[in-house]
């Protein structure tokens, strides 16, 4: 072993001492010859003969050196360095070719690296904590169709039942995400996103605090539950990273909470942005049958050692079925799903399919770029036929030639990779800047991390092989004889080479067409959504989120009083047209409830009609600009004492009250925590999009705030001027009503819609940029091939013209070559692109992607671009001066 090591080391060393060792050998060989000559002279040979015989016996000094090098060094490494040197010289000698090839590949690799930085940031990032793959997130599966029905939150009774029954989990915790608390520090009250978690939560995840301690058993007992753990960011921003804060108290929701810990800065989970954690207190009310409808918890559990995810799923399925049997009224149709934590976070964030599409697109862009560079290399190999033939006749093996060409491809690909990473640096910057629309997305650190660098390296290697394989294989088939005999000035590319190039360019066109149709369909779909009418007036509205804490607003009466007090004050502000409070802002994806309609059979829970359920104050429809179509809107008289009333939208009537008079119908919502009550439909209003990013209308049912007060709602203020100018007035007025009540997300309705669209806009821009890149690359490919072949055929064209062909004839001849290629490529691309709408429909259910016009437009565009790319060289060919062209041969 040591022996072998020593020998390997010697050989490796000799690779780097090449010059020195060569020189020593030279001296040795010179001595050898002298000795041989001397001996021959002594034998009586003439000096000339003595030298000749000595040389013959030695067998050639060059060969001796080559043998020596092979014996002492690592021939493979030596050869590689030799190839690299040779290729490097080649790239420097032909700067035009190098720049074109490197830039083309660089663009392709940049697109890939940029996109992969998103994959790395969103999909590959490991959640914090110990073995996150062993943490399972249990969710409910809703029987209704909708957005991610299988990642529904869980009710408290289900959580308690599962925790009691489970013998496959080490421990289990529940969290109520998306809460907001008011934090008062230094006289300022701000609304802070928070998460209420059962004490086991951090233990389940296996994370340790940066400071202090995590929650312990008993922290969720009433009376001891006023403890809080801060995020690193909040601790830094609000408390200046003061370590003595542990044990002191902070004011949350008007009450004192003791700070017991600070989490580390890297404790971040994709899609969740809480700034602080408080204990989740499970009360007696959470264990009633009514609480089963209130599904607001995510359940995290750590698998016992040896238990697999499949076992956990089976167990949870059984528990889900048991709940269905025991509580058919609320659980019928509901199921249970379990995912690992990393999987769950990515799934919930819902970015996977968009990233898959983008990665596919950039993959195609890279293929097109590679086809272009392969074409360039092929063309160059054509002009180098003679050089390669000479090298082969001097003893280079075919394998050696192939390896050398692959090395050249590798050098170009690595340069391209470097250029690509440089471009990707800006690409990532652009993407990051455009992700600021969303707290959760902008919290994801995008960078050229190790994953991306490795990926870029891999992509470069792959490109090297893709680019240089075709030229290398063609070149290795070079016929030495015919190549050396070929007397033509520009050693012409063999037939097989130009055929291969034609195939490459045809494939490029097919890919570009496929890509353009795909992106075109998606862009159109997204564009339609971006510009759809939402059913209400989003302009000139300022909104703010209010969460009434239970310390001061314990019961509905106080909540009603607050709203009754605040709204008239806001209405007094200058420039305010109308004011309303609403449980969920329009087109922001409100929740659904099931309901009963009087006169219709009482169906099992999972088959009951479902409706969006919104609670509004009486001026809401006028404020939001939602048209009243029939009956009446709410008034101040629809209060707690009056008979319960409701307003529904057109879609509600169309779906559930076909051809009936909706007015006067009684409906009853299946609500948690309240006694069921019938309400009378008194009005019908226009449809509002369920969410600004979907095309669908859902049935909607509105209830008056006075009859069903809620503690968490949004204010909506209609202004006559720029709504953002009203923000400070809005804050001041609310502070007058309650100094310690913070407003969350004070922003115009248009901004909210913009933010919701943000991801789509970025998606659309990136798709458009990539499609354009693909088209440009394909055009360059066509242009390069046609102008090259025109150059090759100069002689032929000159003869044709000398024999009477006109410029028009020549143009037509060249154009027809291009048109043939484009037609075949386009036909292939079209056939492949035909099933695209069906594929997209399965992935993006909210986007309408069936549009035959896109196919036609893209087809025409490709032809125009291709014709233009062909026309330029065709024109050059037709402007040829035959006399001069023939003389120059």
């Amino acid at each position: 072993m040591i022996h072998w090591l020593r020998h390997s080391f010697e050989r490796l060393r000799s690779v780097f001492q090449r010059a020195e060792l060569d020189q020593e050998l030279d001296t040795e060989l010179a001595a050898h010859l002298e000795l041989a000559i001397e001996e021959n002279l002594q034998r009586g040979m003439s000096s000339e003969e003595a030298r000749r015989r000595a040389l013959i016996s030695l067998g050639g000094t060059e060969q001796a050196k080559e043998h020596h090098r092979e014996a002492r060094g690592l021939p493979a490494v030596d050869t590689f360095f030799q190839d690299v040197r040779y290729a490097a010289r080649g790239t420097v000698k032909t700067p035009g070719f190098t720049v074109a090839a490197v830039l083309t590949l660089g663009l392709g690799i940049a697109a890939n690296a940029t996109m992969f930085s998103m994959v790395s940031g969103f999909l590959l990032r490991r959640p914090p904590g110990r073995d996150p793959e062993r943490v399972v997130v249990v969710t409910s599966v809703s029987p209704a169709q909708g957005f991610q029905p299988d990642a529904n939150a869980v009710s408290a009774p289900n959580y308690l039942a599962w925790r009691a029954a489970g013998n496959i989990f080490e421990n289990m915790a529940a969290t109520d995400n998306y809460r907001a608390v008011s934090l008062t520090s230094q006289g300022q009250t701000t609304s802070v996103p928070s998460e209420a978690v059962t004490p086991e939560y951090f233990t389940v995840l296996g994370v340790s605090p940066h400071l202090g301690r995590i929650f312990a058993e008993g922290d969720d007992q009433p009376g001891r539950d006023h403890v809080v753990i801060l995020s690193h960011e909040l601790w830094d921003r609000e408390f200046g990273s003061d370590s003595s804060l542990i044990g002191r108290s902070v004011r949350l929701n008007r009450e004192d909470y003791t700070v017991i810990g600070v989490m580390p800065a890297n404790f971040q989970m994709l899609g969740f942005t809480p700034q602080l954690w408080t204990p989740l207190v499970v009360t007696a009310a959470d264990q009633t049958a009514a609480a089963r409808r209130n599904r607001s918890l995510y359940v995290f559990a750590r698998l016992k050692p040896g238990v697999t995810l499949a076992q956990a799923r089976a167990e949870m399925k059984t528990l889900g079925r048991r709940a269905e049997e025991d509580f058919p009224d609320t659980e019928k149709g509901w199921g249970v799903a379990a995912r690992t934590l990393p999987d769950f976070l990515v799934y919930l964030f819902g970015i996977r399919s968009a990233l898959v599409v983008m990665m596919t697109v950039v993959g195609f862009v890279l293929l097109i770029a590679c086809a272009n560079v392969a074409g360039l290399l092929l063309a160059r190999a054509g002009t180098r036929g003679k050089e390669l033939a000479i090298r082969m006749s001097l003893g280079a093996s075919r394998l050696r030639i192939v390896r050398q060409l692959l090395t050249e491809g590798l050098i170009i690909a690595l340069l391209g990779g470097g250029a690509g990473l440089l471009l990707a640096y800006w690409g990532v910057k652009f993407v990051r800047a455009n992700m600021a629309f969303n707290e959760a997305a902008s919290a994801v650190p995008l960078s050229l991390d190790w994953n991306v660098l490795l990926f870029a390296l891999g992509v470069s290697m792959l490109s090297a092989i893709l680019c240089s394989l075709a030229p290398a294989l063609t070149a290795s088939r070079t016929d030495i004889n015919s190549n050396l005999k070929d007397q033509s000035r520009a050693a012409s590319a063999g037939r097989s080479q130009s055929r291969l190039r034609t195939v490459l360019v045809t494939a490029e066109i097919a890919m570009a067409l496929f890509l353009l149709i795909g992106t075109g369909l998606l862009i159109r779909g997204v564009f339609l959504i971006q510009h759809q009418a939402l059913g209400f007036q989003a302009e000139h509205q300022i909104t703010a989120g209010v969460t009434l804490d239970s310390a001061r607003y314990k019961d509905p009466v106080q909540q009603t009083l607050f709203v009754k007090d605040l709204l008239p004050r806001l209405r007094q502000l200058p420039g305010v047209g109308a004011v309303a409070a609403v449980s969920e802002l329009p087109a922001t994806g409100a929740g659904h409830v099931t309901l009963l309609i009087q006169g219709q059979p009482e169906l099992p829970a999972d088959q009951r009609p479902r409706t969006v359920d919104v609670i509004v104050t009486d001026d809401y429809f006028r404020t939001a600009g939602i048209p009243l179509l029939r009956g009446r809107a709410f008034t101040g008289l629809d209060n707690a004492a009056a008979p319960r009333v409701a307003v529904v939208n057109q879609e509600f009537v169309r779906r559930y009250l076909k051809d009936q008079d909706p007015l006067g119908k009684q409906v009853r919502l299946d609500l948690s925590g309240s006694t069921p009550a019938w309400s009378e439909i008194v009005g019908v209003v226009g449809n509002v999009k369920f969410y600004s990013e979907t095309t669908r209308y859902d049935p909607e049912l509105y209830e008056p705030f006075l009859q069903r007060p809620v503690s968490s709602f949004s204010l909506m203020v209609r202004t006559s001027s720029d709504p953002n100018g009203l923000a400070s007035d809005l804050r001041k007025t609310v502070a007058q009503a309650d100094l310690e009540l913070p407003l969350a997300h004070v922003m115009s309705m248009s901004t909210i819609i913009e933010r919701q669209k943000g991801g789509d806009l970025l998606f659309m821009q990136m798709l458009a940029a990539l499609a354009l890149l693909a088209l440009t690359l394909a055009a360059i490919g066509i242009y390069g091939l046609i102008s090259y072949s025109v150059g090759q055929r100069t002689h032929e064209i000159a003869i044709r013209m000398a024999l009477g062909a006109t410029g028009g004839d020549v143009r037509r001849m060249v154009l027809s070559q291009g048109v043939k290629m484009v037609s075949i490529g386009a036909a292939i691309g079209l056939v492949v692109a035909l099933p695209l709408p069906r594929v997209f429909a399965a992935v993006f259910s909210d986007i309408d992607t069936s549009d035959p016009r896109t196919y036609v437009i893209v087809l025409v565009a490709i032809f125009l671009v291709a014709l233009l790319a062909t026309y330029v060289p065709a024109r050059r060919a037709s402007a040829l001066d035959p006399i001069r062209a023939l003389h120059s041969e």
Partner: protein, 117 residues
């Protein structure tokens, strides 16, 4: 057929060089090559240049060592000598070759049983 020279099998030249150095003491490359040619009665086809590949291989393995010195005609030349390790190796390889050539001789001398009866 009898006149054509023997092509050297891979590795045999290494062994020949080792043996030559073991017997003759320090020698330069030319001397080793000539010595092998003479001993073989000029029956091996020795490309003298290849001796240097063989020597560098042996040197890297630590079986021979080299030193610059002056040749009989007063020229600077590299003199090789066998090391202790080299002698050990030579002994092993010599046994191996003798066994192999014995076996080869027997195998090639083998006659069909019914052929000469």
């Amino acid at each position: 057929m009898a006149e054509s020279k023997l092509d050297l099998l891979q590795g045999t030249l290494d062994l020949m060089a080792l043996q030559t150095l073991a017997v003759m003491g320090p020698l330069h490359g030319y001397g080793i090559a000539r010595r092998i040619e003479q001993v073989s009665g000029d029956r091996v086809l020795l490309n003298q240049g290849t001796i240097y590949a063989s020597l560098v291989r042996l040197q890297q393995r630590g079986w021979i060592s080299a030193e610059w010195g002056t040749s009989s005609n007063n020229r600077k030349a590299k003199f090789y000598s066998i090391t202790k390790k080299g002698r050990k190796r030579l002994a092993e390889d010599a046994v191996y070759w003798q066994r192999l050539s014995g076996v080869m001789g027997r195998v090639l001398g083998m006659q069909g049983e019914g052929e000469n009866s």
